[in-house]
Amino acid sequence: MIVDQLILPLLMVLVTLSVGAYIVAVLDRLMAGAFGAPRGGNVWLAPLTRGAWLLTQHANATEAPDWRAWRLAPALYLALAAIGLAVMPWSASLVATDLVTSVVLWGSVEALATVVIFLHGWSANALLTLIGGYRYVALGLSYILISMFVLIGVALPAESLQFTQVVASQEGLWNVLRQPLGLPLFLIVGLGMTFWGPLDLADSTDLAGGTASEVSGPPRLVWDIARAAMLVAFSGVATTAFLGGWLGPWLPGPLWVIVKMLAVLSVLLLLGRWLPRLAPERCVTLMWVVLLPLSFLALVWAGAVALWE
């Protein structure tokens, strides 16, 4: 029983996390190559050799960091990603932890991500990291509401806050079609919570790496892995909430999940390479004035459709 209910879920999450983070790194390199980065070297090996290099590089320190917070932040971010991966179902029965309130739990992961990223910027006690963290909070506060409304939208037809039920409710029609506004809005949230590409306000080039500008060696490796793992966890949740999770003909459920997750990841990484970084002020206005009302609309739409059905 212990093996079934504790060890197996744990292994499942750890394997998804490490394989997923690796795949994100490979995909992003492929994407960079397609967008004009100089090609060379082995794309499949590069993430691993880079990881090895970071393990051999010494960790940097700043003059008076908040040591505990500084070392905890990457680990916490990784743990949050693990939680996200734990609640996403691979099939009707294959779920690491099938909580009845998994949607709420994911919501709290999103909220805590903001805290952790700010912590990473603040705890280094350096100017550029601080600005990165500071800016990120504005973004974090903006995307969280959009995400909530969109997720509530998928909970309506399921009459449940459980991700497995959410998938089950998509038996007839996937939410991506039933609630057309949902997935695009949710993808923006995904870019936000992993501060990827256009929403990379935390670790941006104008801040020489932002919250990560003072870290090197192993802590940086953990931070990078956590960020990639969070992207994987997010794509898992997006798959579950909008793309019908394990539902699909011919293939077994978990395979469908993998295919759909890869599709979501590719879209996110593509957007990341394609779009410029948003100006923080513009980003906040866009989120509150345009996207938030849109997410209201998505919710009303979802409600109307759920009643009509």
Partner: protein
């Protein structure tokens, strides 16, 4: 054993290079950006190799020492077309641009395999101010804010915010001259409140930017307009490279660089322009600030002035250009966005002129007044305009501020040292 294996594996990773640019060291940067196996990084913490490219003026030695010591162990230092300091051990000097990428990759590899010792630190291992043992608890000071805990004072409120007058702590610091987001060689003393610039005073002007030799030739004899215009487009494209990189558009920045490398009268800007428009660069990016007033624009001259609506362009006084149907393009807004639109328009215009001039074998006719890519050259070459930033920066958000600096070509122009760029 395991560690050995790890190092061997790590040695196959891309060489992470933090470039410290000296005078006219940008050529190395542009070359490396397009080289596979090399990753240019923005922070020395992310690098294993410090590349000193170009001669560093003596007034920037102290900052170089600081950056040198900020690379985490183990790291190597390479000097490119620059004289290594005599007291350093184990220094590598490279002069050939073609040999540079390999040398960097080799340094990275040898470092990780343990065949090369990490460079030794230059500065003494002391905190910025003595603090240990001071104060009641040895914390380096008295009370809440006094003293220098860990060698530095705490931030204090010094001024009212420029936007809403709220008095909170402001952070003053000196940025540069080796900050990748600023033009090479530039340093400024900045005061921030939140992420908003309150005060900006330029302390070190950016290095003069090398002008293509053809502009100097044009002062002495008529030169083919095609050549002149290609050199102009080349100059602008390389500026576009750094700005797009800053804006988080790495792919587009590299295609600007590639376009610059393979520039010919047949080159087209359409692809890059389409890419920028479709990615929303003009709408989403931090391009709102930095509007020049007429007087400031006139002072600076060149594309920045034309972006602010002035149609001063010495090319319109040249009969050679007039026969090609040249008329200056202008924008009206004068802000960062307008400057990039202007620059794209000018690159396009230059390519067009080059095509027509090649067909007609057109040459310049006036030698006393040349429009350089940086601005008009009448009696003297365009001079440094970085003091303009002191007026322009206050009130801008950090991202807007850096984007504004990138969009303004404030560096003076000078003759290129050594070999001419292609």
């Amino acid at each position: 054993m395991a560690v050995n294996w790890l190092r061997k594996f790590a040695s196959r990773s891309a060489a992470t290079v933090f470039p410290v640019l000296g005078r006219q060291g940008e050529a190395a940067l542009h070359r490396l950006a397009l080289t596979p196996g090399i990753e240019l990084v923005d922070s020395p913490r992310h690098a294993s190799v410090l590349l000193v490219a170009g001669e560093i003026p003596a007034d920037r030695f102290e900052p170089l020492r600081r950056v040198h010591d900020q690379l985490p162990h183990p790291f190597a230092v390479l000097w490119f077309r620059s004289e290594p300091w005599p007291h350093l051990e184990d220094v590598t000097r490279i002069d050939a641009l073609d040999a540079l990428p390999e040398a960097l990759i080799a340094a990275h590899r040898e470092l990780l395999l343990g065949r090369r010792d990490s460079a030794s630190r230059i500065l003494p291992d002391e905190p910025p101010n003595p603090w240990e043992g001071l104060g009641d608890f040895g914390q380096g000071g008295e009370g809440m804010m006094g003293g220098v805990p860990y060698g530095r004072p705490m931030a204090m409120n010094m001024m009212d915010d420029v936007r809403d007058g709220l008095t909170l702590d402001s952070l003053s610091f000196r940025l540069g001259p080796f900050y990748p987001g600023l033009p090479p060689g530039m340093a400024a003393e900045i005061t921030l409140q939140g992420d908003l610039v309150q005060m900006w005073s330029t302390q070190l002007a950016p290095y003069p930017r090398a002008l293509d030799p053809v502009f100097f030739a044009a002062r002495e004899r008529p030169v083919p307009i095609a050549e002149l215009e290609l050199a102009r487009a080349h100059h602008h494209l390389r500026r576009l490279f750094s700005a797009l990189r800053l804006a988080g558009l790495e792919g587009a920045s590299l295609s600007a660089l590639r376009l610059a490398r393979e520039l010919s009268p047949g080159s087209r800007l359409d692809g890059l322009r389409r890419r920028l428009v479709r990615s929303g660069f003009f709408r989403l990016s931090s391009l709102a600030g930095g509007a020049l007033e007429a007087e400031q624009a006139r002072q600076l001259g060149g594309p920045a002035a034309r972006a602010a609506g002035l149609d001063d362009d010495l090319r319109s006084q040249d009969d050679g250009y007039r026969r090609l149907g040249f008329a200056p393009v202008t924008q009206s807004a004068g802000d960062t966005r307008a400057r990039w639109q202007q620059l794209l328009a000018e690159i396009e215009q230059s390519l067009q002129l080059a095509r027509r001039a090649e067909r007609d074998k057109a040459c310049t006719e006036r030698m006393d007044s040349i429009e350089t890519p940086r601005g008009p050259w009448l009696e003297q070459l365009p001079q440094d305009g970085s003091s303009l930033l002191d007026e322009l920066m206050p009130g801008l958000e950090w991202g807007d501020a850096l984007a504004t600096v990138a969009s303004l070509d404030v560096a003076a122009a000078e003759r290129s040292l050594g070999e001419a760029p292609a």
